[in-house]
Amino acid sequence: MNTVTAPVITTTYREALRMALREALQRDPRVFLMGEDVGRYGGTYAVSKGLLEEFGEERIRDTPLSESAFVGAGIGAALNGMLPIVEVMTCNFSLLALDQILNNAATLRHMSGGQFNIPLVIRMATGAGRQLAAQHSHSFEGWYAHIPGIRVVTPATLEDARGMLWTALMDPDPVIMFENALLYNLEGELATDAGAVDIDRAAVRRPGSDLTLVTYGGSLPKTLQAAERLAAQNISAEVIDLRTLRPLDMTTVLGSLAKTHRMVIIDEGWKSGSLAAEIMARVMEQAFYELDAPIERVCSAEVPIPYARHLEQAAIPQVETILAAALRTVKQHV
């Protein structure tokens, strides 16, 4: 018998997430989804649309505007045998639940000397770029990646949108999944048998030899575009999608650097104290002598994200700014 590869369908990041939610709900009765407007409204970004009709109110649970209480309740339910998926509409509102996430979800296992587990998944939208102004444009992935005790994942492809959720649910510890809101409409092909994927390793999204572009989440499509344009100038860029921001897979990052000796990090967080800064620091610690040029970072400007479109676009990473940083990096000779 020949091995047949499964047929592919054209779908979106949003649909892929919904497939993952549906599968999880079908597969395990302990799984339930809760959050603001996940049910009746059909999900703020329509990710959970139709699930209420399919699974009912017990398992697709609309919550009041009580971020601290329902995230905390998710932690409590996870402590007591359930596998909750808590949707916090956007990371902007997760600040109201930060105490529960940081002081309970991330610490209970440790404080109890390893007696308890919190198998919880928290999903939230993140990112700027839609002219929603300062309070609605945050990128807090890097902040959350600062916290020991939680795992942070950032699906940026259809495969990861489809496959990370189940693996995250099976993880005995709390996992926060950041979905960049600009990715929901991302279209692409997905195998009909696509399923769980690992949440441990970074992925090389484009192989290359002249420099390494390290990124994640909403900046991945921009970085791939920049790599394409670099190729037109005969510069071969390797693009690494971190996928998981905590714990960081430095093996993949350093493996690439050992080949290219040059690196640019693209991260939508503010530059000061960013995830990009952490990666840079680890390269300094672990692979300083591999570098042929200083590492560059393309991050958000040190400003609350402004409303006006041209100012907002100037504040966040762009293909042009990635390209410029990459060119500076390859033109430095040691």
Binding site: G42, D62, L96, A133, A301, A308, R309
Partner: protein
């Protein structure tokens, strides 16, 4: 309450001004001139109109992301608001805030806040500062009924009452928080009682009747100004449009929306004003014409506005310091 013709004209003018401004905003959103989130106040005009009429220039106003009507009624120019939504420098927040973040220091308008409940603690602190500095103005805070589920609401009510501050809490109960109906989010839907549990006096008011709103707001403001502590008003109202421009409205029936539209605050007041002899149809037509002119000018002003150069991207993050010599 029986208004004299001047007050009746003023109230209708303000409500029509808000309605037409919002309709124009929706149109400009579809045309791509306004971006981001746009939350319309259509259907709820009587609340901001009646309350602002009861406030004084010395009072401060805190509002939500659904605040165009409040900004207009507080006296911000339609042009400055429209320019803000265009993202122009001439906007009331210089293009940095957009629809959800209208600010005006001179009008003591402390903004559009896009975090539900976010304005409540600020209001308590502002009112506390008024008291500590023996100033007379009160602090008024508008918020949706959805905010009542937030811890910040309860913490703020308690503090306001405990410290006996001059705060006026104005809950716009339009029955939905995005797609979540009040009875699906509150175990007890009696909102006035929640305030009462913090020993804050309160009242529920028909938010579709501008005269009822005005009367209740005047009494409440008087109560607060007299040093009796905070007061809570619930306005029962309804938004005729979607939550924002992205809402497919799966959670409520067209029939329900139609029923509420029968109680349109503008149509209702117009009919009554004519039958009571407060206003003539000619006056009402004149109001429409004045408003149409004002809004056309506001759009022109916004169109003619300027874009801030990107070189100043990081301005207004910190206050410029005077360098020591």
């Amino acid at each position: 309450m029986t208004p004299d013709p001047i007050l009746a004209r003023k109230l209708l003018h303000e409500m029509v001004r808000i309605r037409r401004f919002e309709e124009k905003s929706a149109e400009l959103y579809s045309a791509g001139k306004i971006r981001g989130f746009l939350h319309l106040y259509i259907g709820e005009e009587a609340v901001a109109t009646g309350v602002m009429q009861a406030l004084q220039p010395e009072d401060a106003v805190f509002a939500t992301y659904r605040e165009h009507g409040h900004a207009l009624a507080r006296g911000l120019s339609a042009g400055a608001i429209m320019a803000e939504m265009y993202g122009k420098v001439e906007g009331c927040s210089h293009g940095r805030g957009g629809s959800m973040h209208l600010f005006d220091a001179a009008a003591k308008f402390y903004g559009g806040n896009a975090i539900v409940g976010g304005g409540l603690p600020l209001t308590v602190g502002y009112a506390l500062a008024q008291k500590m500095q023996q100033r007379t103005g009160l602090a008024a805070c508008f918020f949706g009924e959805g905010a009542i589920a937030e811890g910040e609401f309860h913490e703020s009510m308690n503090l306001a009452s405990l410290w006996n501050v001059p705060a006026l809490f104005l809950c716009e109960n339009n029955l939905y928080a995005m797609g979540t109906a009040l009875e699906r989010s509150e175990a007890d839907t009696n909102l006035v009682e929640k305030a009462a549990s913090y020993r804050i006096a309160g009242k529920s008011v028909d938010g579709m009747d501008v005269l009822a709103v005005l009367e209740a707001a005047q009494q409440a403001a008087q109560f607060v100004r007299a040093g009796n502590g905070p007061y809570f008003l619930e306005f029962r109202t309804y938004r005729f449009r979607a939550h924002s421009m992205f809402d497919p409205e799966l959670y409520r029936s067209k029939a329900e929306v139609e029923r509420w539209k029968q109680r349109c605050p503008i149509a209702g007041f117009s009919v009554r004003a004519i039958s009571e002899g407060w206003l003539t149809p000619q006056t009402i037509a004149a109001i429409e014409a004045e408003v149409a002119r004002e809004i056309a000018q506001a759009v022109e002003f916004a169109e003619a506005g300027t874009w801030e150069p990107v070189e100043t991207l990081t301005r207004d993050v910190y206050t410029a310091r005077v360098q020591p010599e």
